[in-house]
Assembly symmetry: C2
Homo-oligomer: 187 residues x 2
DNA sequence: AGTAAAATTTAACATAAGATAAATAATCAG
DNA sequence: CTGATTATTTATCTTATGTTAAATTTTACT
C-alpha cells in the first residue's frame, strides 16, 4: 500500500483512520501480459492503482480497435464514463505487461465518502486532475497534427515506445498504423 | 437563484443553509453580445451559471482562434484547466448573445467545502459529469469524421445553428470554415 | 533453433480536409 | 436606407492521412 499512500498524498493528506478504511476495501491483483483487467459490457465498479505495468483502455468502432489512453506506474485507471454514470462500459482495460495492481471497490469507496469527507475530497481532487488532463487532451487531438501529437507523446512518456506496441499508439493518436509508420520514417 | 437551485438538485439536494451560503457568494452578471466574460491570461476564480444566453470558451493557436466548447442555458461554465490548477488560463469566455449569468466566486466556494460537505459533494458530482462529457468529446473528435461530428452536434444541440456563427462551429469541430461550408453544401 | 504468427514498414493510389482567393450573402452602424 | 463590415460559400490547387496490399522485421511457441 505504500506506493498508493504516496500517490494519495500528492492530492490530499489522509488520517490513519482513512488510510485503514481504504486498505480494507482494497486488494492486490496480478495480471499477465495482454490480459484484460476489465471487459467490455460490464459496469465499472473498481478503481485500479498501477504498482507495476502498463494499462490501456480500448474500445471498438465498427470492429476497429481504438486505444483511448495509456496508464503507467503510480497512476489510477478507471473507465470513468461508466464509473460516474453507472452504465455498462463499451470499453475494456487491458494490461500491456505483466502487472501488479491494487483494486479499490468503487461501491465501497463511495460509501466511505459519507464517513470520511477527507476521502471524498481526495478522490474529488484526483478526478479533477484527471479531468484537466482530458481537457488538455481534447486540445491536443483537435488542433495539432498527427506528427505534433506523436512528438508530444514521446516528450511526455519517453519510454512509451519501449513498452507499448505501435499499433496501440497509432489509434491513441487518432491515426492508422500506416500513417504512424510514415511519420516515424521521416526522421 | 431558482434556476440555479433546480440545476443543483439534478446532482445533489442541498439544505437551506447550504443554499443560503451559496447565495451569499453569488451575484448576477449581465453581459452584452460578443463581450468577453473572462479574458485570456487571468486565473479562473469564478464559476458561471447561464440563466440566459450562449457562451463559448476560445483560445488562440498561432493567431487562429479556436472554440473549445459552447454552453447554453441552465449549464455551468468555467475554464477548469485554470480553476483546478490555479494557473492563468490561455482561454477566454465570450457570450455570443446578450446574456444573464450568476457568478459564483470559486475561492469562496472552495472555502465553503470545509463547512458544507454537501456543497463539496454537489460540485464533485457536477464536475464528474462534466468530466464524462469531456471523455465522450475526445471519442467524438478522435474517431469520427468532420461530417459525423457536425451531424452529431446538430442532433445534440439542434438550435446551435440559429444561435452560433458557423465560424465558431467550424473550429469547435476541428475543421476550417471552408471545410464546414463544404460539408453543409453536400445536402 | 526453426517455424508460425504478429508487428511494422513500404509502396501505390484515393480521398478528405487545408490554404488561398474571390464571390456572394448577411449584419450592423450611422 | 445605405454603405461598410463581417460571415458564408464557392472554386482551385495542395497536402496529409486513409486504404489496400505486399514486404520485411520482430516476437512467440514448440
Amino acid at each position: 500500500m505504500n506506493e498508493l499512500i504516496t500517490y494519495f498524498n500528492q492530492f490530499n493528506h489522509l488520517s490513519e483512520n482513512a488510510i485503514n478504511a481504504i486498505s480494507e476495501i482494497s486488494k492486490p491483483v496480478n495480471i499477465k501480459k495482454n490480459q484484460n483487467l476489465q471487459s467490455i459490457g460490464h459496469t465499472c465498479r473498481t478503481i485500479y492503482f498501477i504498482k507495476k505495468g502498463v494499462a490501456r483502455i480500448y474500445y471498438y468502432k465498427e470492429d476497429i480497435e481504438i486505444t483511448e489512453c495509456f496508464a503507467f506506474e503510480n497512476a489510477i485507471i478507471a473507465r470513468v464514463e461508466s464509473l460516474f454514470t453507472g452504465k455498462p462500459s463499451r470499453k475494456a482495460i487491458q494490461m500491456i505487461e505483466d502487472s501488479e495492481l491494487i483494486a479499490i471497490s468503487s461501491v465501497k469507496l463511495f460509501d466511505l465518502y459519507d464517513t470520511f469527507p477527507e476521502i471524498e475530497r481526495l478522490f474529488r481532487k484526483i478526478f479533477e486532475s484527471a479531468y484537466v488532463d482530458t481537457v488538455n487532451r481534447v486540445e491536443s487531438i483537435q488542433f495539432h497534427s498527427a506528427e505534433e501529437r506523436y512528438n508530444a507523446l514521446l516528450k511526455e512518456s519517453p519510454n512509451v515506445l519501449q513498452r507499448v506496441p505501435l499499433k496501440y499508439i497509432a489509434s491513441y493518436l487518432g491515426i492508422t498504423q500506416v500513417s504512424l509508420s510514415r511519420i516515424r520514417g521521416i526522421r
